[in-house]
């Protein structure tokens, strides 16, 4: 009985999410405080549901849900296999932590009048992202991606000032991206007459030579590439991350970014399939070169930033490039494993970094790394978490980031691509360079002003527990996940995910 119940969860997450958004908005009429708790409660429930889904998928296989009982290809179908169950858990876990983190940060950064609307939009964002992940219909994906995107534009703009311009830029580029995507699926609809992913995959099989299909592929990849901030289509992203409120940056860098990376993987592998890629392998190889350039250039750009949020934004671009590099080696088991592992690893590590920075900004208001001197004494736990996330992103064993690097390198060796091997290593050195500036400033420089002569309580100025707890949890996860991946127990799920992407490896 319980099993069939779990099959309803994918749709329930999306619908209850949208209803909850509505409820938060209405509750705002009566109390400005209650909205947050509704959001917290709903996200927690959703997270538990996502775990149930993952558990179900692992034990019983794919979930198909037909909305309204309409059979595909006529009705909208929600399909959850290993890949999206995994991504769903990742994004809901980070959504939950972001919501926990948001409370104090939002209280400080955003006018109280706007709180109910803020949480409404945040709920819409989470619901939209979950929808993108669970849907098995290319048009439904477009609709839910729009829900998530519009929510993001609003959330960025809520900070006012420069954020308005950042939001506007993102609005323009995001809309162009979505248009590309829409145009792409329009072409596909024209040639296949279906919108269901599985159906489309079957119908496309025989017409890979069709020019329309090829153009559609390019359009979809570019469209989703802009949303996932793949270089050189990333230009909106640093501004957006920099000027958005801390809580929004946190949720964008982890949840939204990963959602669109997932969408890209899903369309490329489940709709177009590996056979298509193999046919145009030379074109697809461009992706790996693009990723290589991104890793180098993005790291150098990150090194040039003094604004810490901007630096982390460039670091995110680089990490998306690692994922792209992994999926560009689709004929290598380790390459794909590295890409899939990085969805989780990067979300956790970058979430930790942004949460720590959010806490620092909350306490001190400092965004420029040059003023971070002696911060480790004032906020030892937050800085410790930041240090761990930095080491993770650099790829120090046995932390989570090392696993990504390790798998990707094995992938490069599997396909005998020594250039990319060198690129990955160089990337990790450059990451060290830009993170170590911050670490040095925090830990090895002390400020000489009156404050330091105050008593211990004055100097010790740690962030509130609702911000510290998610940060510390993520930092611990950076370590625990790294070791967990290395025990190679989770590789079983990775195998299934790769199988569900339709990749058959020798």
């Amino acid at each position: 009985m319980i099993d069939t119940f779990v099959e309803q969860f994918p749709i329930l997450i999306v619908t209850t999410g949208v209803f909850s958004a509505f409820t938060i908005l209405v509750s705002g009429i009566f109390s400005r405080k209650i909205g947050y708790y509704i959001l917290l409660f709903v996200t927690a429930i959703h997270f538990m549901m996502s775990i149930a889904i993952l558990n179900y998928v692992i034990s019983f296989g794919r979930i198909h849900y037909w909305i309204g009982g309409w059979r595909p290809p006529w009705g909208i179908e929600y399909v959850v296999d290993h890949l999206n169950a995994y991504v769903l858990v990742v994004i809901l876990f980070l959504s939950f932590l972001s919501v926990v983190f948001a409370k104090r940060s939002v209280e400080k950064e955003i006018d109280e009048k706007k709180h109910p609307t803020f949480y409404t939009v945040m709920q819409l964002l989470i619901a939209g992202c979950c929808g993108v992940v669970v849907t098995g219909d290319v048009f439904n994906l477009f609709v839910l991606a729009e829900v998530a995107s519009l929510a993001t534009y609003a959330l960025i703009a809520i900070a006012g000032g420069k954020a308005l311009r950042a939001s506007f830029t993102y609005l323009i580029l995001g809309s162009i991206a979505i248009c590309f995507y829409l145009l792409g699926i329009g072409f596909l609809y024209a040639v296949t007459g279906t919108l269901n992913m599985i159906d489309m995959r079957l119908l496309l099989q025989n017409i890979y030579d069709n020019k329309m299909v090829q153009v559609a592929f390019a359009l979809v990849v570019v469209g989703l590439g802009i949303k996932a901030a793949v270089f050189p289509l990333h230009t909106w992203q640093p501004d957006a991350y920099t000027y958005a409120p801390s809580a929004v940056t946190l949720i964008m860098s982890t949840v939204v970014a990963k959602t669109f990376v997932y969408a890209l993987i899903r369309i490329v592998f489940s709709v177009f399939t590996v056979n298509f890629l193999q046919k145009y392998i030379n074109a697809w190889e461009l992706v790996s070169w693009l990723a290589a350039v991104t890793i180098i250039v993005g790291s150098i750009l990150a090194f040039r930033q003094y604004n810490i949020k901007r630096m982390l934004a460039y670091s995110s671009i680089v990490n998306v490039a690692y994922i792209m590099l992994g999926i560009s080696m689709f004929y290598s088991y380790w390459g794909l494993s590295g890409a899939l592992a990085n969805i989780l690893n990067h979300a956790v590590a970058k979430g930790c970094a942004f949460a720590a920075i959010g806490a620092i900004i909350y306490k001190t208001g400092l965004k420029d790394v040059r003023y971070y001197s002696g911060l480790a004494k004032k906020m030892p736990y937050t800085c410790g978490a930041f240090l761990i996330s930095a080491l993770t992103l650099i790829g120090i064993p046995p932390l989570a980031g090392f696993v990504t690097k390790f798998y990707l390198m094995l992938g490069c060796l599997e396909v005998k691509n020594y250039t990319m091997l060198a690129v990955i290593l160089l990337g990790s050195l450059l990451t060290l360079a830009y993170f170590w500036r911050v670490v040095e400033e925090m830990y090895f420089k002390s400020v000489e002003d009156e404050n330091t002569h105050g008593n211990a309580e004055e100097r010790f100025n740690e962030a509130p527990i609702t911000m510290l707890a998610p940060t510390m949890l993520l930092a611990i996860l950076c370590i625990a996940l790294g070791i967990y991946w290395l025990t190679s127990i989770p590789l079983e799920i990775i195998d299934k995910m790769i199988a569900s992407m339709g990749v058959i490896l020798k």
Partner: protein
């Protein structure tokens, strides 16, 4: 899943556990230091407890989990690993005592961070010693780099931070090469487990293997061979116990250890010879041996001079191993311990002088011998050992390496190997040239005027003087009884493994 003897695991994690306890008790310096001392003794006992098993030829192995097919995260204790482990863990006891005296007498800041990182450095050094395969070794190698950075940058001055950056740049780059080389080895042979007979075979193109070997050498930049040595003198800005234990023993020896592992346990002696890599490496090492000593002569800062001496001795060990004969390899392995004890004596003396008189330059040392006679006697013992003169242990290392060179002429039927004896002798003479003037200046020059003493706490100085006396004593004892720390037996066992029982 865990099959095994847990002793190696406990050995490796006990300093790590201590580091956590150190962090917790950061408000109580005495308790904090107590944890360090307890950990040193526990660790050393664990290490020694495994020695009899290793000598009797049993395998002490601890497999934790499999990372990727064919590569486990595992510890395996063999004779060679024991040499490194005994050296680091026994010296850690003495250096910890010394640290207490040194750090407290100079009233240093951030002492908790110092002890925390120090404990982690030992964890990773022991991890490197006991690693079963290259990937496990790499994990600890990287941790070692990261956790020693705060020790180098300890002073937090601009100069120290710059030194820290240089340190990270060199060593992290080398880590990248090591990871690449290890993974390439994995992709060729499907395993990275150390095996006394080597794991690579000559099916792969020779040129490729030679290139891979260079990649490995770059990976073990911690061995501070020229031209990649300059991070070591720069790192001398660290507190003296750090320069002593880490930059004369744990960190740099990890590099040398790795090179020996690669030559004997990854390539195998035969393949290394076959590829012509032994002679190439020997020439490279000889260059460093001579040139580092020339640099040392021109250096006025005492610690930097000792750093160049370390570079010289490290390459000396590499030279021994690259001769690829049983005696030479044995000499190289034993020299890891011998050099450790002698060099640490010298560093501890330099630190004591700096802490008590504030003098850091060789040219200022006039009269120090009269003021600190015990320290300077210990220094002299160290200097004699460095120059390879009896009755200090350094002689044995050099003797065996020279024997190895003679053996090489027989083995490979090439008289040119005798040239390396010449290299060894030249470097010994140069050692005398830069170390003995220090002794002379300290004892025989200077007036009695600088003899006035400042108010000092005797007990704290005892913490510094006693450890350096013990290391000096051991330097001599190891000459008389080379087996005092089982070093001789272990080295013999290791060489036997590598040559398949050739020696007896």
């Amino acid at each position: 899943m865990i099959d095994c003897n847990l002793a190696p695991l406990f050995t490796v994690i006990s300093p790590a556990i201590a580091s956590m306890l150190i962090l917790i008790s950061h408000r109580h310096p005495n308790i904090r230091e107590a944890w360090t001392i307890i950990a040193t003794i526990v660790t050393f006992s664990f290490v020694i407890s495994m020695a009899p098993k290793v000598l009797s030829g049993e395998t002490v192995e601890c497999v934790l989990f499999e990372m990727i097919p064919g590569v486990e995260f595992a510890f395996k204790v063999d004779a060679f690993g024991m040499i490194f482990a005994i050296t680091s863990s026994s010296l850690w006891i003495l250096v910890s005592l010394y640290s207490i005296g040194y750090m407290r007498s100079l009233n240093e800041h951030a002492q908790t961070r110092y002890y925390f990182c120090f404990a982690w450095a030992i964890t990773s050094a022991l991890g490197i010693a006991f690693s079963k395969n290259l990937i496990t070794l790499f994990v600890f190698y990287e941790i070692l780099t990261i956790c020693t950075h705060p020790l180098v940058a300890h002073e937090e001055s601009q100069e120290a931070l710059a030194a820290g950056r240089k340190y990270l740049l060199y060593l992290m780059t080398s880590g990248c090469f090591l990871l690449a080389a290890s993974l390439i080895t994995y992709s060729i042979s499907g395993t990275t487990d150390f095996n006394p007979r080597g794991i690579l075979n000559s099916e792969v193109p020779e040129f490729f293997l030679q290139l891979l070997f260079i990649c490995y050498l770059l990976g073990f930049m911690k061995a501070a061979y020229m031209p990649f040595h300059s991070w070591l003198p720069t790192a001398m800005i660290a507190p003296t116990p750090v320069s002593g234990l880490l930059h004369a023993v744990a960190v740099v020896k990890a590099g040398v250890f790795g090179i020996i592992r690669v030559i004997c346990y990854v390539y195998g002696v035969e393949l290394t010879y076959h590829l012509g890599l032994g002679l190439l490496l020997a020439c490279f090492a000889s260059f460093t041996v001579i040139v580092a000593n020339l640099f040392a002569i021109g250096e006025d800062n005492l610690k930097r001079r000792l750093a160049y001496s370390t570079i010289n001795q490290l390459s000396f060990i590499i030279l021994g191993v690259s001769l690829l004969t049983p005696f030479a390899i044995m000499g190289g392995m034993m020299h890891i311990t011998f050099h450790g004890y002698m060099k640490i004596t010298l560093f501890l003396c330099a630190g004591a002088i700096a802490a008590i008189t504030g003098k850091k330059l060789v040219s200022e040392l006039a009269g120090v011998g009269k003021r600190m006679p015990i320290t300077m006697v210990a220094f002299t013992i160290g200097a004699i050992g460095m120059s390879g003169l009896p009755p200090v242990a350094g002689f044995l290392g050099k003797w065996y390496i020279c024997l190895g060179a003679v053996q090489a002429t027989e083995f490979f039927n090439q008289a040119s190997y005798l040239a390396f004896i010449f290299v060894v002798l030249t470097s010994s003479i140069l050692d005398v040239v830069y170390l003995f003037p220090i002794v002379r200046t300290a004892f025989f020059t200077g007036s009695n005027e600088n003899l006035e003493r400042e108010e000092t706490k005797k007990t704290i100085y005892l913490f510094m003087i006693i450890p350096l006396l013990i290391t000096a004593t051991f330097s001599i004892a190891l000459f008389i009884f080379p087996n005092a720390l089982l070093i001789f037996d272990l080295a013999e066992k290791a060489v036997e493994d590598v040559y398949g029982g050739w020696l007896r």
